[in-house]
């Protein structure tokens, strides 16, 4: 049994080296398929990061009347904080709001001098609310648009953000759908190409399979080397693809950091998901090659 196993390993390696061009083409096709999958992962990471960045820039500001009391403001804060959709809230006192205002308009002397002429701080405290999803802002705004809060809340940035929120929601949904479609398309193309590459490889060796059967080889002895070749091709293609991806991410990351600010965004994502990505890619390629080999060989192994 052990001798047969070592013979299968020997025949498998002989096949790979003696059919070098075919082996090379098979591995190349597998690498191209894996690179397309990695490209999709990169697109996915960039899309998610873009959406996250845009979402982070959206918030709802609740402007309180300057005369509102601390108790009234605390009640509204507590109410807003009770919503599970709220991720965080930042409260700015009248003084902090005034400081921000002055800093924003530090180049505009007219506005600053008008503020000085008033003599007192005309701005009320502000509560900046951030929700987990952009669609949740509407719920918060609606919850605060009740008569009890009319005398406490002066304004809410509802009108300004709703269009943007809707648009972001629509864009993210479309991008996600497109990514799913692209993934399905690539997977189908890859499957068909790999399946046919393996079938052609087996087809070119059909005469050999017939001869092996003729001299008394069992089906296991005939198919063993092909199965082992599938394993070797899978390992090589996943390893080479990882090398190419690693190199490419090092090249892409500086550009990503300009857009998103985060250093080594893609490299970090790949490092933190390396076992998952390599595992899934290896299992997919191995299953694909072994199923293709099995199906292609089946007709030549019938007695």
């Amino acid at each position: 049994m052990l001798a047969s196993f070592f013979r299968i390993v020997k025949f498998s390696l002989q096949d790979i080296f003696r059919n070098m061009s075919l082996s090379f083409m098979t591995v190349l096709i597998l690498i191209l398929m894996l690179l397309s999958i990695n490209t999709l992962i990169v697109v996915r990471v960039i899309t998610d990061e873009s959406i996250k960045t845009v979402k982070e820039q959206i918030d709802v500001s609740i402007y309180f009347h300057p005369e509102s009391t601390e108790e009234e403001i605390a009640e509204v804060r507590e109410y807003v904080g009770s919503f599970p959709e709220v991720e965080n809230e930042v409260y700015q006192t009248k003084e902090e709001v005034l400081e921000d205002f002055k800093e924003t308009y530090s180049d505009n002397r007219d506005i600053l001098s008008s503020l000085d002429e008033l003599g007192e701080n005309p701005l009320g405290p502000t509560l900046i609310v951030k929700t987990r999803e952009p669609k949740d802002y509407e719920k918060i705004i609606n919850a605060l648009s009740v008569p009890e809060y009319e005398n406490i809340i002066e304004a809410k940035t509802f009108g300004d953000t709703q269009v943007a929120i809707d648009r972001i929601h629509s864009v993210t949904t479309q991008v996600e759908r497109f990514t799913y479609f692209l993934t399905a398309l690539f997977a189908t193309i890859a499957f068909v190409i790999i399946f046919n590459t393996i079938r052609v490889a087996i087809y070119t060796q059909r005469a050999e399979i017939g001869i092996k059967r003729l001299v008394g080889a069992t089906n296991w002895f005939i198919s063993g080397p092909y199965m082992l070749e599938s394993l070797i091709f899978s390992i090589i293609s996943v390893a080479v693809t990882y090398g190419i991806a690693h190199f490419s991410l090092g090249f892409l990351d500086p550009y990503m950091s300009v857009v998103f600010g985060e250093q080594e965004l893609l490299a970090n994502y790949f490092s933190s998901h390396i076992f998952f990505i390599l595992g899934i890619e290896f299992v997919s390629v191995f299953l694909l090659t072994i199923v293709s080999s099995g199906l292609a060989m089946r007709r030549y192994l019938k007695t």
């Binding site: 001869i211 003729l214 001299v215």
Partner: protein, 226 residues
């Protein structure tokens, strides 16, 4: 050694491979099976090596009824019958030595035994000096000798030769026939399927003639009569 009882093979309603053939071949015989193309000679070979299953009748080889042989047992059968073909059927990616070794490797033979048997068999067919060559580097006659060596490594009791000289010139044909006669002298039963008149007439051994799938004559020191 080989018993065919009322053996028939029908491919389709209009295509008959063999029709009710009865044949008994004794151990150590040298039997030529002759007939024109499409008369069932190759069908008979395919039935003997279980590449085809009979439609009716019975096949026994060395007392083993292989009429309904299971897929699992087919490799065992093929290790007990040596077969050579017109197109040699050598593995193109393997050397002469590897082609012959392969027949023993598939049977799980030990390496020491393979190293002992293979050089001896290659010596018998006169190819010891070319054991590192690939099939495409050999002449037709040499390729057929490799095929014979491969068929002999299991020390089969039966050697089936399906048109073994069909692709060879007269000199190589003569060489192959001489090797087959030598193998027969060692006690191996030979079933030679051919339509080479000269070869059959020169052998002066038993001749079985097929026509339209039927056995029409069986002569113990026969000639090619078609």
């Amino acid at each position: 050694m080989i018993v065919l009882k009322n053996l028939s093979k029908q491919y389709t309603r209009d295509s008959v491979g063999l029709h009710e053939v009865d044949l008994h071949i004794q151990p150590g015989e040298f039997v030529s099976v002759v007939g024109q193309s499409g008369t069932g000679k190759t069908t008979m070979v395919k039935l003997l090596i279980a590449e085809e299953r009979p439609s009716a009748g019975k096949i026994e080889i060395g007392g083993w009824d292989i009429t309904n042989i299971s897929r699992h047992d087919v490799p065992l059968l093929r290790r007990q019958i040596g077969v050579i073909f017109q197109d040699f059927k050598l593995l193109p990616q393997k050397t002469v030595l590897e082609n012959v070794e392969f027949a023993l490797e598939v049977a799980g033979e030990r390496k020491s035994r393979i190293q002992q048997v293979v050089p001896r068999v290659l010596d018998i067919v006169g190819l010891s000096h070319k054991n590192e060559r690939y099939p495409h580097q050999l002449s037709g006659g040499e390729q057929q000798r490799v095929a014979i060596a491969r068929a002999l490594v299991h020390r089969p009791k039966i050697l089936v030769a399906d048109e073994p000289t069909g692709n060879l010139d007269s000199i190589n044909t003569q060489e192959i026939i001489e090797i087959l006669k030598k193998i027969n002298e060692f006690g191996t039963t030979i079933l030679l399927v051919t339509h080479n008149r000269e070869v059959v007439n020169q052998l002066k051994r038993r001749v079985v003639t097929l026509h339209d799938g039927r056995l029409i004559s069986d002569e113990h020191k026969g000639k090619y009569r078609l």
